[in-house]
């Protein structure tokens, strides 16, 4: 069955988008425990350059934990994680190197409240990439324009709406010029009228060919941009498929149940 799924997926990928063949992220046999609690069970996942993966699943299924392992916000105990050709180890240099290339957007934005929007965006380029301040400011303004809030550059995050804050958070990640973007439920803390403005930015990003892994329950978004949708439950990847077959003919019972629950309301 897996072969079949892969076959279909390849077709849809080549038709819909132009994902590369280079591997960007690879998880092989990843296992993780919190104490005695087995959160991630034998996770295998390969993401190619330019691919867009949407991860969904019930609360507590390990979605956040999985993507947080990719930039070592969480440590896995077994298995191998490769990011852009570098294997994650305990070596701090190695971890910091990977984090430079991996942008992350959080559910609660996590902007730095004591810095202005512009300073939020230039901080990492200045201190991590060691770029001159002037240049980082130009880059930051470019991305703030991309997310359509250049006029807020000198405000503090506390003065912006949730949707604006999340767009700043996206711009902040982009300023590091990452190879991959990880999104952990970027719209679930937002009021409905703000969800669209954030999703629009993400769709644009996808169209430009950014490699993305996105935990979200926005199924419309998944249909539009995802190459593959992954369903997780109980710490496992239960199903992995292109969006059309995933939504129209889910194979596993658990996926069917989950989809019927989230699509019914």
């Amino acid at each position: 069955m897996h072969a079949e799924v892969e076959e279909k997926e390849k077709q849809s990928v080549s038709l819909k988008h132009m994902a590369g063949t280079e591997t960007m992220i690879e998880l092989r046999g990843v296992n993780k425990w919190y104490g005695d609690f087995h959160v991630l069970k034998d996770i295998n996942l390969t993401v190619r350059k330019g691919e867009r993966i949407v991860v969904c699943g019930p609360s507590g299924s390990g979605k956040s934990t999985m993507i947080r392992c990719i930039n070592r916000l969480e440590e896995h105990q077994e298995g191998i994680i490769d990011v852009n050709g570098v294997t994650l180890t305990n070596d701090l240099k190695n971890i910091e190197h990977i984090r430079k290339d991996v942008g992350m957007v959080f559910q609660h934005f996590n902007l730095f409240p004591h810095l202005t929007v512009l300073e939020n965006c230039t901080l990492a380029p200045i201190w991590v990439r060691k770029m001159p301040r002037k240049e980082t400011e130009e880059i930051a303004m470019k991305y703030l324009e991309r997310v359509k809030i250049p006029d807020q550059a000198n405000k503090y995050p506390g003065q912006l709406s949730g949707g604006q804050q999340q767009r700043v958070a996206i711009a902040r990640s982009l300023c590091m010029n990452p190879e991959v973007m990880l999104f952990d439920e970027p719209t679930s803390a937002l009021d409905p009228e703000m969800i669209k403005e954030v999703l629009d930015v993400m769709i644009e990003l996808a169209q430009e060919g950014m490699t993305m892994i996105c935990v979200t329950h926005e199924m419309g978004f998944a249909r539009t941009v995802a190459n593959r949708v992954i369903f997780m439950d109980g710490g496992q990847i239960i199903e992995e498929n292109a969006p059309e077959p995933f939504f129209n003919s889910p194979q596993s019972e658990r996926t069917q149940l989950f989809l019927s629950q989230i699509l019914s309301h």
Binding site: L73, E96, L123
Partner: protein, 366 residues
């Protein structure tokens, strides 16, 4: 169905909620109970203030050189002016007082430079405050260099000693306190247990005990000919004691930080120290301002405990004055005045911290 397409023009709020009358109503007479409290408060002020004012100002003596000048009923402030030199400088030699005055002047200038946000190049002010200022002050006050006569630290005293002790205590305690707080939360067991033990030991012992040990016991442990100045020992004791208190204040601030701030800093590739310096500490220090200032105010007052190891700070000089046979029955004036001076400094710190908190407020947290 209701359709309302008329625009209602804005009007001013009712007169009873505006202006002085509105303020009075809202703050002092909002409920019957509140009104009763307001009247009781007023009655207390009417009862207490006139006699105090009469004693301290109207019937007080200000001019003269000795007790005989105090002929009226009220306070004898002549005592303060007669003792002014000791009160400011302790037993610092008469001919060298200019050195202390330069110290006072430089201190005022540097503090204004660093603390007032309209001053230019405040970063350099901060650097000078932490390097050049202590160095030049030491050379000036202690002497022994550049042809300056040496003034032993046991001659230092009064307000000058109080300020030196508090400034040194604050400047050393804050960075050590920050490191201790970070260390206590470290993942490395050796670091965190060392910091925890250090903090708990210093924090759990009364300052008076620490000063006593520093003065009496420390020399017993230090081998033979190395002699550490008594004032230096007191400074070390006070600074480490203070650092332990500051560490706990900072740790509280660290715990109040949302986990997301650490994660965002990590996810962007900042190193641990970059994240702490650029993201975490600025926010932690901001929310810890009340606690830090509270600790500093406490320290400022506690410096008077150096009396027990024979150093004469502001309070000690005043107390010595009270026992002077030429100045009988002067203790009320002495304590009121000393209390007022301590209060003025502490109140200044407190007001500054309130202004700072307001300035650093950038809207609610994300």
């Amino acid at each position: 169905m209701i359709v309302n397409d008329k625009n209602i023009p804005s009007r001013p709020a009712p007169a009873s909620t505006r202006g002085i009358a509105g303020w009075l109503r809202e703050n002092l007479f909002s409920t019957p109970g509140n009104s009763v409290l307001t009247f009781m408060g007023l009655a207390f002020l009417v009862w207490a203030i006139p006699p105090i004012f009469q004693w301290a100002v109207l019937q007080a003596d200000f001019i003269g050189v000795n007790k005989e000048a105090c002929t009226s009923e009220g306070a004898c402030w002549v005592f303060v002016s007669a003792r002014f030199q000791q009160f400011m400088y302790g037993f610092y030699p008469d001919t060298e007082l200019w050195r202390v005055n330069i110290f006072f002047a430089q201190m005022t200038a540097v503090l204004v430079w660093v603390l007032w946000d309209k001053m230019p190049r405040r970063t350099w002010g901060g650097v000078w405050f932490l390097t050049g200022f202590p160095l030049t002050s030491f050379i000036l006050l202690h002497g022994g260099f550049l042809g300056l006569e040496t003034v032993e630290t046991h001659k230092w005293g009064g307000l000058m000693l109080t300020l030196v002790l508090s400034l040194v205590g604050m400047v050393i305690a804050l960075p050590i306190g920050i490191l201790l707080a970070l260390g206590r939360r470290s993942d490395m067991p050796a670091v965190s247990s060392f910091c925890t033990v250090f903090i708990e030991i210093w924090r759990g012992v009364p300052l008076i005990t620490i000063l006593f040990m520093a003065s009496v016991m420390l020399p017993l442990f230090i081998p033979g000919d190395i002699e550490l100045d008594k004032l230096a020992r007191a400074m070390i004791g006070i600074s480490l004691f203070e650092a332990a208190l500051i560490a706990e204040v900072i740790r509280g601030g660290l715990q109040a930080m949302p986990k997301g701030q650490y994660e965002a800093a990590d996810a962007m590739g900042l190193s641990y120290w970059q994240g702490m310096r650029l993201i975490i500490m600025p926010q932690v220090l901001k929310i810890s301002i009340p606690g830090i200032v509270n600790t500093f105010v406490q320290l400022f007052k506690d410096t008077s405990l150096v009396l027990i190891i024979g150093l004469f700070d502001l309070l000690a000089v005043m107390q010595a004055g009270i026992t002077d046979v030429n100045w009988p029955n002067i203790s009320i004036e002495a304590f009121v005045f000393t209390g007022f001076v301590f209060w003025a400094f502490c109140f200044g710190m407190s007001r500054y911290s309130v202004a700072l908190e307001r300035k650093l407020d950038t809207g609610h947290k994300s």
